[in-house]
Amino acid sequence: MDTKISFTLNGKPRTVTTDPDRSLLEVLREDLQLTGTKFGCGEGQCRACTVLVNGVSKASCITSIGDVDKQEVVTIEGLANGDKLHPVQEAFLAEDAFQCGYCTAGMIVGVVGALKQNPAASEPEVMAQMQKHICRCCSYTKYKTAIHRAMAQNGKAHA
């Protein structure tokens, strides 16, 4: 049964009328044309589909659209402020962190989420969160350096 679902998406109100059991990932990609969030496994095992729901990082492939009714959703497309990239995006670019780039959006949103949840998080705490993410190119060394850089900047911002 199609249902009317209203939520905030990247700061703007959105309403969709659809089957509430469809995944958030599918609705973002197919109905709202926000394809920055990627499908990787469909079972929350790789986190290529990471988005923020009320500031908390979630696997959108196993989150139903019905579950985000009246909630606040942020995707990779919502991180930059106009032309100004989010510091985590900047850090990933500065470190040449990714190879194919398919997991990158999920990684960036994952780091943003970890720091949003706990701005004082230690690097091991953030890395523990990132353990959920798969990079099949195995660009983990450069990703780790990029996360370190992002956290150093975050530290400055919070100092």
Partner: protein, 721 residues
């Protein structure tokens, strides 16, 4: 100044070339549609106005495309200069994360004398680019980079020639600076854009690229040889880049395909009516092919579920992973060859071992994906593949179309690792789009990618050797059953050798992987070397060096051992900590690694804590990307070394998910100590594959050193005590 530097030459590779197209077992779809009249695919919808490349394309089409690729027939087919001065380099190579986009941009910018940012790449659109062959076999660096450099150098020469005529000055008085050329007084200048605005100059772009065009020598390089970031990196970081699975077309619908419940199962009957009764659902059955498409994926899934519940299948017995190695050996073509030296007078010592290497999956994070669109009997497909022209042939064959009526576009895609040479997903999307009369998007599920994509071949490897009293290898017998011939020969100096690959009857669909069979052959050879070194009572490093003449392989082995401090490390006794090493050469590059492992006998766990690798691939073209490739290869290699293994039974893969098939994650990351050896005196070889080949054997050797028990299978496990 004519420069003949080795890095400028296109040398025949000093390794065996493989016909990858023959290697891939394609899904043989045949949708017997009627043959259409010849219509040129070029024209509408191209990203840039291509005129001369269209001619080149016709040529390529007549030659059949695919394979090694014919390359650009003329200058205009390689380099397009817009009237606004935009420089576009055209190539049939793809970008799947390995760095071709940056590297080929560097190659063009270097020779054109312009900045890196002023060059755009148009990659892998068969409607516009020359056929440069598939992106595999580490060939972009040794083959395509020189071709692009030649084209760019020829364009630079044309600009010089043009200015010389316009200004009526000697060519050698003209200078190039900041992407422009100036006369001796620095008063008059011309750009590539000026060239494009001259009809006479445009005519010159129809000429073939001269083979002897002068190239910039390595010591004068400004753009090549220095780190270059991926040109479209920002789009990746913002989510703006459209991967194949992100492509959207007006009116597009989403597809799902009915899969057999087991390998070899035949569809006997199916009732399509439940899906046909659903609103806006397209259902297609064409012999064994059954697919559905709907306005969104969920509805397509519902429709598929309804009809798959009605499907009746006929299954045939299939071998399981438990009996895999016996099966491969029993089915070895002509039987497993015996050791021809077995009857010779025995040396001081003999050794014999059989190694097992399992099937594994590439599991690129972006599964196979395609969007297909038909228009006036012509087909356009956007898909993720390493082989655009072969996918075009595959589509042309399946739909009985002339290749000119098929356009394949490969957007930068989410990983391949040798796993995306084929076009089955493109064919499936196109079949549904044909009936739907709408663009169709098909993205395989993870389970489909794990099950229906092809696998890295499994192997049974028999190794036997004899040693003389001085500890020298006198005979060497090494047989790879099923996985392939790459690196089956030994790089070591041995008395007599018998190294062969023997085909078998593979129970799973198999093909390329990163470095092909050299992952299996290097594993077995390097682990066997440690076993016989131990039998001879010699240190593995010394034992290898005593049998190794190749100076490049010796150099990386010595370098890795030195950086790791091998002689001291082997003496240091620490409980539960061990070290191992391995080396190898493949695709014209050379690699050695020393690893440190931590063994937890109580938890039955092996953890790699440090990898020190030395890698040499001639002159380094993009140090930043090379580092990424080497680091990525090492970590990917740890997955195959310690965990990855396909399990199957009754024709079904039983671990077809990231939950059951664990690939490396952040916490597997060891301390990495990578040494990139730059050799400006040597031509550049590719680097995306070779770094992986030493990881599994080095880990196995560390475990062997710690436990004293032979390691003869991947993934490496601790023997039961």
């Amino acid at each position: 100044m004519k420069t003949i530097s080795p890095a400028n030459e296109i040398l025949p590779p000093d390794f065996e070339e493989i016909n990858y197209d023959e290697l891939v077992e394609r899904v043989d779809y045949d949708f017997g549609l009627s043959r259409r009249s010849f219509v040129k695919v070029l024209g509408a919808g191209l990203l840039i106005a291509v005129t001369i490349p269209a001619l080149a394309q016709e040529e390529a089409a007549r030659r059949g495309g695919g394979g090694g690729g014919g390359g650009a027939r003329n200058l205009g087919a390689r380099i397009h200069i817009g009237k606004d001065g935009t420089i576009t380099v055209l190539t049939g190579k793809v970008e799947g994360g390995q760095g071709a986009r940056a590297e080929l941009s560097q190659a063009a910018a270097e020779e054109l004398g312009v900045s890196l940012s002023s060059v755009q790449m148009l990659m892998a659109d068969t409607g516009a680019v020359p056929d440069d062959g598939g992106t595999y076999g580490s060939m972009t660096t040794p083959r395509t980079v020189p071709l692009v450099r030649r084209g760019a150098a020829a364009a630079r020469n044309l600009l010089m020639e043009f200015a010389s005529q316009q200004w009526k000055v000697e060519r050698n008085t003209i200078q190039m600076r900041d992407g422009k050329i100036f006369d001796a007084a620095g008063k008059r200048s011309l750009t590539y854009g000026d060239l494009a605005n001259s009809d006479a100059a445009a005519k010159l772009f129809e000429q073939a690229i001269p083979a002897d065009v002068e190239l910039t020598s390595v010591k004068e390089w400004k753009v090549l040889g220095v780190p270059a970031l991926r040109p479209n990196a920002r789009d990746i970081a913002t989510g703006a880049h459209k991967f194949p699975s992100d492509i959207a077309r007006p009116g597009m619908i989403y597809a799902k395909i009915l899969r057999a419940p087991a390998y070899g199962a035949k569809l006997v009957s199916i009732d399509l009516t439940p899906a046909k009764a659903m609103k806006d659902v397209v259902v297609v059955q064409d012999d064994q092919f059954v697919g559905v498409a709907a306005p969104n994926s969920s509805r397509a899934e519902d429709a598929l579920k309804k009809i798959s519940d009605t499907a009746k299948w006929e299954t045939v017995p299939q071998p399981s992973s438990k009996e895999l190695f016996d099966y491969l050996k029993q089915n070895a073509q002509g039987g497993a060859p015996a050791n021809p030296y077995a009857d010779e007078p025995a040396g001081a010592k003999t050794a014999r071992q059989t190694y097992h290497v399992p099937y594994i999956q590439h599991a690129p994070l972006e599964p196979r994906a395609a969007v297909a669109e038909w228009s006036d009997g012509k087909l356009t497909v956007w898909t993720g593949s390493q082989n655009p022209f072969a996918v075009r042939s595959e589509l042309a064959r399946a739909f009985h179309l002339p290749p000119e009526n098929v356009r394949v576009v490969i957007p930068d895609f989410g990983g391949g690792f040798g796993g995306k040479h084929s076009g089955e997903c493109a064919v499936e999307a196109a079949r549904l789009a044909k009936t739907a009369d709408k663009p169709v998007s098909l993205r395989w599920t993870r389970e489909e990618e794990f099950t229906w994509a092809y696998f890295r071949p499994a192997a049974v490897i028999d190794a036997e050797a004899s040693l003389d009293a001085q500890g020298k290898i006198t005979t060497w017998h090494f047989i790879n059953i099923n996985s392939g011939a790459q690196a089956v020969d030994t790089p070591y100096t041995v008395g007599k050798k018998n190294c062969h690959y023997v085909a078998s009857k593979p129970p799973l669909r198999q093909s390329s992987y990163r470095a092909l069979a050299s992952t299996a052959n290097n594993f077995a050879r390097e682990v066997f070397m440690d076993e016989i070194a131990a039998a001879a009572g010699t240190d593995p490093l010394e034992f290898r060096l005593a049998h190794l003449e190749n100076p490049r392989l010796r150099a990386v082995l010595e370098r890795a051992a030195k950086e790791f401090d091998w002689p001291a490390r082997v003496k240091k006794k620490a409980p539960n900590i061990s070290v191992g090493l391995a080396c190898g050469t493949e695709k014209g590059s050379f690699v050695a690694a020393c690893v440190e492992v931590e063994i937890d006998r109580k938890e039955n766990k092996i953890r790699v804590t440090r990898v020190c690798q030395a890698f040499e691939c001639g002159k380094i073209l993009n140090p930043a990307n090379l580092l990424s490739q080497v680091q990525g290869g090492i970590i990917m290699g740890l997955g195959a070394a310690l965990r990855e293994e396909m399990q199957f039974e009754n024709g079904q893969i039983t671990n077809a998910s990231f939950g059951k098939y664990r690939v490396p994650r952040f916490d597997d990351l060891p301390e990495l100590d990578v040494h990139l050896v730059d050799r400006p005196d040597l031509p550049s070889a590719g680097a995306g594959e070779t770094p992986i080949i030493v990881i599994a054997p080095a880990v196995a050797n560390a475990v062997f050193r710690a436990t004293g028990k032979s390691v003869n299978a991947l993934p490496v496990r601790l023997a039961a005590t």
